[in-house]
């Protein structure tokens, strides 16, 4: 909301600069920024246009002689409304306009221009750029602009939280300033006026009292539509409003003055003297003031002429009954509508208006009366209007403020400090809360009708602390109440994995959880879809982390980084069953390697490519490092991988690894030439393993014995199968077995290869002797010979 400081002055003294006022309001809970402050504008003065001539080289430009009383300069101007004799705002050479726009001497189409005649928008006064700003004729020239205009146009921009409908007006904010500064609050006297006759009859018929608890109407005749008085136009302008005519401006003025929305109908357009309030029927059509046609349903509350709609209640009036230049007789509406009804209606039509904004937050049911009389008296004074009916107040559903007990003890607990009785009394009074002491420590309070947010004790406590000042509440700490927090972070151990991965040269990524439906479906899982997505590209929740990481590879290749090791930890979702209950959320850790694991350099001419085996090596090392155990891989199928193995640790399958399916890259429309090797691990399973304590294993003090075995086997037999077989013999003394060489040569026979295994034996209890090892070796040889049809190569 744009708040005019000049307008505020109608109700309370303002001694602060715009910035000081913004700070004060911010600390009262109304976030404020200075919107217009002309006080710092230098070299901008009032001036007079002496003469206007056509620019010799441009049809639409004019050359003006402008004087500030001391010197007369030539200025090129393009404004259509510039005329000789006008008093204007003149920015001299060297002036800096809002937005850091510096005025310089310039040559425009061959004519030198020494400054600029300003429009309102250039000064930050309004959005208006229709022409230059023309000052009153009696303005003295050569005076700094801040002296002339700042008083009128300085303004703040306020962000009012939804709980404070009462603050959506100048008077509402003035009330807060008066309370904070102990200054006097003035409100223009609102008088009841006796009607001249009763020829303006109105019957109000509310068929939905829940939607419209109160409706006040009255008829005014002999209206003369014209311009509003200057003071009102200036106030409206300073609050960012456009002026239309006296009747419309008066309604807007009262809205911004006291926050109560009213509506004015052209009485002549109403076929009967009945005003109805009812719900729309399904499919009912209505054209609002902005010439939009709406199709309505039972969520929309309507004001009718007894039959047909004439306004969308609390949102916008109808085109058919709007006030025009020839309007003579009007009907004033000052009503209170139910917040939820207005909100539903305005939401479903996507129409947020100044009026709906106030009603949906909760208008003042008693403010209806004051607003009515304020409108009536302003119409009388500035539009020649005569009240020709009684104030017809239909109030089928009384709204009462709740009685609230405020305990001093509770206030002190919540604040954490003691606030004096005197201050509490002052704050309650200043907030227009009726109160009396039930006893020394309990107040009985009745909030005013304009504060629908004050429903219970805590709301009053908040108000008192707010007015007391959050800054004045002391800072205290009380960590003495520490209690058991043994399971301080159930996911803490995952940091070991993060540290290890980053230590091995992996970069951690954070990707968007929202993908397109096609991308989210690539993992074969059914994604959870959002009903109101930002765009089709961001409609579904990711079911896998791989699409994100692959996109990161593509992005980085395009930016010159072709060798990548990436990982991400995050949540994935899938729709396993129907509805909300069918959503399954899982935590995953995924990684990819791409390009070279080691580039060629001056020390090594041969680069080393990432491969299935480099990934396998990383996984082995990560698991050895974090879990102090070994990893097994069993071939399987997985939609995201061309070649896939399960990752098994301590007999549990915790994830998958392998060569990422190139089809995935194609579906994601990525330009990734080479193979990507990737893995995904379930975080919950990893965490289970990570919580198991690591137990120290004794280091054998006896020497080890090393042997090599060289088997000739069929090409079809996998080196790993023999290795597994030997390990499964469970020879305690066999500490490690590693394949060290594969050799293929015609001398071995057709489709044969030889594989060398290095075996290390060690006993924990004694020094092994050759004969002990020989017996293990013999046993191994005989088993491998039989199982794999192997021959020993000597």
């Amino acid at each position: 909301m744009r708040l005019s400081i000049n307008w505020l002055r109608q109700y309370v003294d303002i001694k602060e600069t715009p910035q000081e006022l913004a700070d004060m309001l911010t600390m009262l809970g109304f976030e404020a920024e200075v919107a217009t402050d002309l006080s710092n504008l230098k070299n901008i003065v009032t001036a007079k246009v002496e003469s206007v001539e056509k620019h010799p080289n441009a049809d639409k430009l004019l050359v003006c002689q402008v004087t500030d009383g001391k010197e007369t300069v030539s200025v090129v101007c393009g404004a259509p409304n510039v005329e000789a004799g006008q008093k204007v705002v003149f920015a001299k050479v060297g002036a800096i306009l809002p937005g850091d726009f510096e005025i310089k001497k310039a040559k425009i189409r061959g004519e030198v221009s020494f400054g600029m005649i300003c429009a309102e928008d250039e000064l930050g006064i309004s959005e208006n750029h229709e022409g230059i700003m023309v000052l009153p004729e009696d303005t003295n020239i050569g005076i700094p602009i801040s002296d002339v205009l700042n008083e009128k146009y300085a303004a703040l921009e306020l962000d009012i939280t939804p709980n404070r409908p009462d603050a959506l007006s100048h008077y509402g904010i003035a009330r807060e300033i008066a309370l904070k500064t102990n200054r006097k609050l003035k409100f223009p006297e609102v008088k009841q006026i006796n009607p001249i006759g009763t020829k303006g009859k109105v019957t109000v018929n509310i068929s939905d009292p829940d939607g419209c608890p109160r409706y006040i109407a009255g008829v005014i005749d002999n209206i003369k539509i014209g311009e509003s008085p200057t003071w009102m136009k200036e106030l409206l302008k300073s609050a960012g409003q456009r002026c239309i005519n006296n009747v419309v401006d008066i309604s807007n003025f009262v809205l911004l003055e006291m926050g109560h929305p009213t509506h004015i109908f052209d009485y002549a357009q109403l076929p009967t003297d009945t005003i109805g309030v009812r719900r729309a029927t399904k499919g009912e059509k209505f054209v609002t003031l902005d010439e939009e046609q709406h199709t309505l349903d039972k969520h929309h509350l309507l004001i009718t002429d007894g039959k047909n709609p004439i306004a969308l209640a609390g949102i916008m009036g109808g085109l058919g009954s709007a006030v025009y230049d020839d309007t003579k007789k009007v009907l004033i509406e000052s009503a209170y509508f139910d917040p939820i009804t207005i909100r539903k209606g305005s939401k479903s039509l996507g129409m947020l208006t100044e009026s709906s904004r106030r009603f949906e937050r909760g208008a003042d049911p008693d403010g209806t009366v004051i607003a009515f009389w304020r409108i009536v008296s302003l119409l009388k004074e500035y539009a020649n209007g005569e009240l020709v009916s009684e104030m017809i107040d239909t109030y089928p559903k009384k709204i009462k403020s709740p009685k609230i007990q405020l305990r001093k003890s509770e206030l002190n607990i919540v604040a954490g400090c003691e606030i004096s009785d005197k201050f509490i009394a002052k704050a309650l009074t200043g907030l227009n809360i009726e109160w009396k002491n039930i006893n020394d420590s309990v107040w009985e309070c009745l909030p005013s009708s304009f504060r629908p947010d004050l429903e219970g004790e805590i709301d009053l406590i908040e108000e008192i602390i707010r007015v007391y000042g959050y800054d004045n509440v002391p800072v205290s700490t009380r960590y003495g109440s520490l209690f058991n927090y043994s399971n301080s972070d159930p996911k803490a151990n995952i940091s070991k994995v993060i540290n290890t991965l980053s230590g091995f040269g992996f970069n951690q990524c954070y990707n968007n959880s929202l993908l397109s439906k096609e991308e989210a479906k690539l993992s074969g899982e059914n994604p959870v879809k959002t009903i109101n997505p930002l765009s089709e590209n961001l409609s579904d929740m990711r079911t896998s982390l791989l699409p994100g990481l692959l996109t990161n590879i593509d992005f980085n290749i395009k930016n010159g980084n072709k060798n990548l090791q990436l990982f991400e930890i995050g949540q994935v979702h899938s729709q396993k069953g129907k509805g909300f209950k069918g959503i399954v959320e899982k935590s995953k850790i995924s990684g990819v390697v791409y390009g070279l694991s080691r580039k060629a350099d001056i020390h090594n001419e041969t680069p080393i490519s990432q491969s299935f085996f480099s990934l396998k090596g990383y996984l082995n090392s990560i698991i050895k490092r974090t879990l102090n155990t070994t990893t097994e891989y069993i071939e399987t199928n997985h939609i995201e991988f061309e070649k896939c193995f399960t990752i098994n640790v301590s007999g549990k399958n915790i994830g998958f690894m392998g060569i990422v399916d190139s089809g995935l890259m194609k579906s994601l429309k990525l330009d990734i030439e080479n193979e990507v090797f990737g893995f995904e691990i379930a975080v919950d399973l990893l965490l289970e393993l990570l919580t198991e304590p690591i137990l120290f294993k004794q280091i054998s003090k006896y020497p080890s014995i090393e042997r090599d075995l060289n088997f000739v086997i069929d090409e079809s037999i996998m080196a790993g199968d023999i290795l597994d077989k030997i390990q499964n013999m469970e020879i305690d003394q066999l500490k490690s077995i590693t394949p060290t060489n594969i050799f293929r040569h015609e001398s071995l026979g057709e489709n044969k290869k030889s594989v060398v295994y290095n075996l290390i034996f060690q006993d924990d209890a004694k020094t092994l002797e050759d004969k002990d090892v020989n017996s293990f070796i013999d046993e191994i040889i005989s088993i491998v010979k039989v199982k794999f049809n192997a021959k020993l190569r000597v």
Binding site: D471, C509, S513
Partner: protein, 330 residues
């Protein structure tokens, strides 16, 4: 010549030879073969043992062995010198200005690092850590937190909906409700996690971000203590001389509510870093806590915003682009 003389002659020949070419490894090897080889001079002397009278044989063997050991050790030390000289020569020819053999540089994402830092600060003052679902029902994300269905406060958080009126949580406050539904007070938790907002993506907003929320419920928990806790947090996070202010605000689930700003001296303005307040008794009622006994405070902060302040990052989208040139800096 007696055996003794022969031994003396071998010794002196060996010494002369080894001193004439102390660093020539080829010559040294010839020397080893000449004296210590299988058919070398010492071996030849051993071969003469048969011709020595039996009673002198033991003494002769001893002398010969001594000779063998002496020569071997002289030879070994000569070879060692050769190796050392060789290495020294090689090392003199290395160009030490060449670059090192580089390893890939891994990194931990700045959001992760900031999250860890925030968690560590609150752990140090007795907060446990809890996690909860990213997709939740409206009740836990809104209603239980005193944000009724048709309330303007809903506009404060643009929401993504999924089937059944469930939502992508707009804050981690949904976990507050789960925690209080399942545990009796006193409780003290922070809840880190990913939250979603249906907002257009720009340099200052993204459709998701990370939040850490805190909740402390106990007897006599006050606004003053909330100030103390967050003041401590701000000092740990941004430095001892951080300037901090609490200004009144509105959140449906806390009352009184405040926004916390820290002063940014570079931009010469206050920067909002978190929201907080005293837990609204209506929230306690929804989870069955007795608000005549228990009070609580809650706070919530956006990790991206804190990381942007900390690392001076201007555009929030950097966090999700995963450009190596960005990631490697952290």
């Amino acid at each position: 010549m007696s055996l003794k003389d022969k031994i003396g002659a071998v010794r002196s020949n060996f010494r002369t030879a080894i001193e004439s070419f102390p660093t020539d490894s080829i010559k040294l090897d010839e020397l080893r073969i000449r004296f210590l080889g299988r058919k070398g001079e010492i071996a030849q002397l051993f071969n003469t043992m048969g011709s020595i009278p039996a009673d002198e044989r033991a003494n002769a063997g001893k002398l010969l062995n001594e000779l063998k050991i002496d020569l071997q050790s002289a030879f070994d030390s000569a070879i060692k010198n050769v190796d050392q000289n060789q290495r020294k020569k090689e090392s003199d020819s290395v160009d030490y200005s060449l670059p090192g053999i580089e390893l890939p540089i891994g990194s931990i994402h700045p959001i992760e690092q900031t999250l860890t830092e925030v968690k560590d600060i609150f752990k140090s003052i007795g907060f446990s850590i809890a996690y909860g679902p990213e997709i939740d029902d409206e009740y836990h994300n809104f209603e239980a937190l005193n944000i009724p269905k048709h309330h303007p406060a809903r506009d404060m958080q643009d929401t993504f909906f999924v089937e059944d009126n469930a939502v992508l949580r707009t804050h981690t406050s949904n976990v507050q409700i789960h925690l209080m539904e399942n545990e009796e007070p006193p409780i003290r938790y922070i809840v880190p996690g990913r939250v979603y907002r249906n907002e257009a993506i720009s340099y200052k907003s993204f459709c998701l971000f990370h939040q850490v929320e805190g909740l402390y419920v106990d007897k006599n928990v006050s606004f003053s203590e909330l100030k103390g806790t967050l003041d401590y947090f701000a000092r740990r996070m941004f430095g001892e001389d951080v300037k901090i202010r609490f200004r009144p605000s509105y959140f449906p689930f806390t009352e009184p509510s405040a926004e916390v700003d820290i002063w940014n001296s570079e931009r010469n303005q206050w920067m909002e870093i978190l929201g907080c307040g005293i837990v609204n008794p209506k929230v306690f009622k929804n989870v069955g806590y007795d608000s005549t006994i228990w009070h609580g405070y809650a706070f919530g902060m956006g990790i991206e915003r804190i990381a942007m302040l900390k690392y001076k990052i201007q555009d929030i989208r950097h966090f999700y682009r995963n450009d190596i040139r960005f990631l490697e800096q952290f």
